[in-house]
């Protein structure tokens, strides 16, 4: 018998080959996921039964729903004892739910247009890879355009607001090389002074290039929630970044301002801050100055959210290895450059889930303004609509609708953030 021997030399290397085609198909999926064992099968059957029961009992409420009727009693007549929802309240009070009950109806197109433009402005920011970066110029101008559309009045107000921002940025850029922390403060103070001074110019020129003005107290409905949500989230992210970095500052004054601010704001319930905005601030203001209520609420919610976002970002900063700071330093980048180019992009990416968490919470918390007698969507439902003779007693349909609006928005935000996280994934761990 020939002697066996194990010596072996590979004569040619194997080429790369595709993996075997995966077995696919619905049946296989069902078997693997729903009926993999007796217990699993039982669970599947029971769950299916529960789902079907829920659908059977809820379906008539939707299917028999009345969409056209002037009042609850009329709706009940149409239903004639059958089960069904009175969705007519939504169609009949549609504009009130969206814009409040005092916004002039011939001007609905203005907030409507602002809403559409929001997508044009948001797209290049949210989907930066798909749109030319020139569109960001419009994004920068959008807040001022939207303000003018929604509030109306003289165009000078948003123009001066914009100039104030530009001045602040200019001051920041000029001083950032010396000290980033001081530059932020200097820029902010410059803008603030400019705005206060420009108030003296714009006040007597109310009618220069003016469109019909709508005061804040005439606004309401989901528009308010959306406005507060969008404005406060977009403001609180940059403020949160500044606070988080300030908290790590080597300058004690800056550090302690940030720590005290964050800890104080986080320790106070939002509703308290809103009452402060509503009532207390008025005492401190010189008599005769009208400091817009919505503006006060925006400031309070922004402060509240920035404190939370600052802590989320601090977590992101802490998660970065020290080597990243050192590599940035060793290349000669200054503090502002290292932060902007190396540290923040990574820290913010880590912080996305936390920031979204705060953003979604904040957006839902905008309904708290109904407590300080603003007529946001919840305020509208609880006040003018449910109090009216026609619709007293319609709860499910109204609150269900409000819940649906919030759910759709929040779910959208959540889906977007997960997509963004996948986009930003560059490490293949």
């Amino acid at each position: 018998m020939a002697q066996e021997h194990f010596a072996f030399v590979r004569s040619h290397m194997l080429p790369e080959a595709p993996p075997p085609a995966a077995e696919r198909g619905a049946i296989k999926w069902l078997r693997e996921n729903l009926f993999s064992s007796a217990a699993n099968s039982l669970l599947t059957v029971v769950s299916l039964y529960v789902v079907i029961q829920i659908v059977i009992s809820a379906a008539p409420w939707f299917l028999n729903g009345v969409w056209d009727s002037p009042s609850l009693t009329a709706c009940r007549d149409i239903l004639d004892g059958n089960m069904g929802g009175c969705f007519a309240v939504l169609t009949e009070r549609w504009n009130q739910l969206l814009f409040g009950f005092k916004y002039p109806s011939e001007l609905y197109w203005r907030p409507g247009l602002a809403f559409i433009l929001l997508f044009v402005a948001g797209a290049p920011l949210l989907f930066y890879k798909l749109f030319p970066s020139k569109m960001l110029i419009f994004t920068g101008l959008y807040p001022f355009i939207a303000y003018w559309l929604i509030w109306g009045g003289s165009i000078l107000v948003p123009v001066f607001a914009l100039l104030g921002v530009l001045l602040g940025v200019y001051v920041y850029k000029r001083t950032v090389a010396a000290s980033a922390g001081m530059a932020v403060i200097a820029g902010f103070v410059a803008a603030l002074i400019f705005w206060i001074l420009s108030g003296f110019i714009t006040a007597p020129m109310e009618n220069v290039l003016a469109i019909e003005a709508v005061p804040s107290r005439d606004m309401g409905g989901f528009m308010i929630n959306l406005m507060l949500g969008v404005v406060c989230v977009s403001l609180s992210v940059p403020f949160g970044i500044v606070l988080a970095l300030g908290r790590q500052s080597s300058m004690p004054i800056i550090k302690w301002i940030c720590v005290v601010f964050i800890e104080f704001i986080r320790g106070v319930p939002l509703i308290t801050l809103l009452f402060v905005a509503n009532v207390v601030l008025a005492y401190f203001l010189p008599p005769g100055t009208s400091f817009d209520l919505i503006l006060r609420v925006i400031i309070m919610i922004t402060m509240f959210a920035s404190a939370y976002i600052a802590e989320v970002i601090r977590g992101g900063l802490a998660a970065l290895p020290r080597g990243q700071y050192e590599a940035a330093d060793s290349l000669g980048l200054d503090y502002a450059q290292a932060m902007q180019l190396i540290i923040l992009p990574q820290a913010l990416k880590i912080s996305i889930p936390g920031i979204v968490n705060v953003a979604v919470g904040l957006f839902k918390d905008t309904t708290l303004v109904s407590v300080i007698s603003m007529f946001d969507i919840v305020g509208m439902i609880r006040g003018p609509i449910l109090a009216s003779a026609e619709w007293n007693g319609v709860y499910w349909e109204l609150f269900g609708f409000a819940a649906l609006l919030f759910f759709v928005t929040c779910y959208g935000i959540s889906q977007y953030s997960q997509w963004l996280e996948r986009q930003l994934q560059t490490d293949h761990r």
Partner: protein, 255 residues
């Protein structure tokens, strides 16, 4: 001294450290360090763990602050003045043990970032420079990948290229090969040898004694925060003077 003149490769001083001391809190890490590095010198720093090798070279580009004595780099004295520090850092390249590439940027962006932002080089030109150095470290084809997709050896070569893109006059290496698999060590060392042959001033903390013999014109041995011995590599390895050095060499070369 005879040895002193022999060690000189040029008259131009690159780094001058005099009576430098550093403490971490109450812990005296570096004690009375005196070191003059001439332009074009290749210095290898060796020593047991915790002897302060990393701390010493990190003081040279002010990643660590020293408390006493002076360090001047290319004539610029390191003080707490941020302007001076940034100037020195842009002249001194540093390569780390763990590469420290920026994971959110592509290889090319890693290399062009500092030239564009610190040197204000136009983007096109910075990219050309980057590609030149990526070719030099033999990975131009990886330019559009992210660091996470590269092997350790490749990442370290990118890190070297990234530093070179700033056209530094001095390069610092802190154990550039100790996080690498044996197969990848040589590809990184080859890159460093090539750099040395071109006359780059290099300070290199490493335990690769083969590299030290081949490339260094001076080996410095540190222990307990002090320079214990320095000499030409031949003398250093064949005829160590201090007991501490002998022990260290027997441990590191013993097997």
């Amino acid at each position: 001294m005879a040895a002193e003149t022999q060690l000189k490769v040029s008259d131009e001083v690159a780094v001058e450290i005099t009576k430098m001391n550093k403490w971490f809190g109450a812990f005296h890490v570096l004690r009375d360090i005196d070191l003059t590095v001439y332009q074009g010198e290749r210095i290898v720093i060796a020593g047991p763990s915790g002897s302060g090798k990393s701390t010493l070279i990190r003081c040279i580009n002010a990643l660590e602050e020293h408390q006493k004595g002076s360090i001047s780099v290319d004539g610029t004295v390191l003080s707490s003045d941020v302007k001076n520090i940034d100037k020195v850092r842009s002249e001194v390249g540093m390569v780390f043990q763990h590469f420290n590439l920026f994971p959110h940027l592509t290889i090319l962006e890693n290399c062009t970032l500092a030239p564009i932002w610190v040197r204000k080089t136009p983007k096109r030109e910075a990219e050309e420079i980057a590609m030149h150095f990526l070719e030099k470290v033999k990975i131009p084809e990886q330019a559009d990948k992210y660091p996470g997709m590269l092997s350790g050896g490749q990442q370290q070569r990118v890190a070297i290229a990234r530093s070179l893109c700033m056209k530094p006059r001095i390069m610092l290496f802190d154990e550039p090969t100790s996080a690498l698999d044996p197969e990848m060590i040589s590809e990184v060392l080859d890159t460093m040898i090539e750099l040395a042959e071109e006359g780059m001033t290099m300070l290199c903390v490493t335990h690769e004694m083969g590299f030290a013999r081949k490339v260094a014109n001076r080996v410095i041995f540190m222990d307990q925060g002090q320079i214990v011995e320095q000499n030409e590599p031949e003398e250093f390895f064949n005829n160590p003077q201090s007991e501490r050095t002998k022990l260290f060499l027997s441990q590191i070369l013993g097997h």
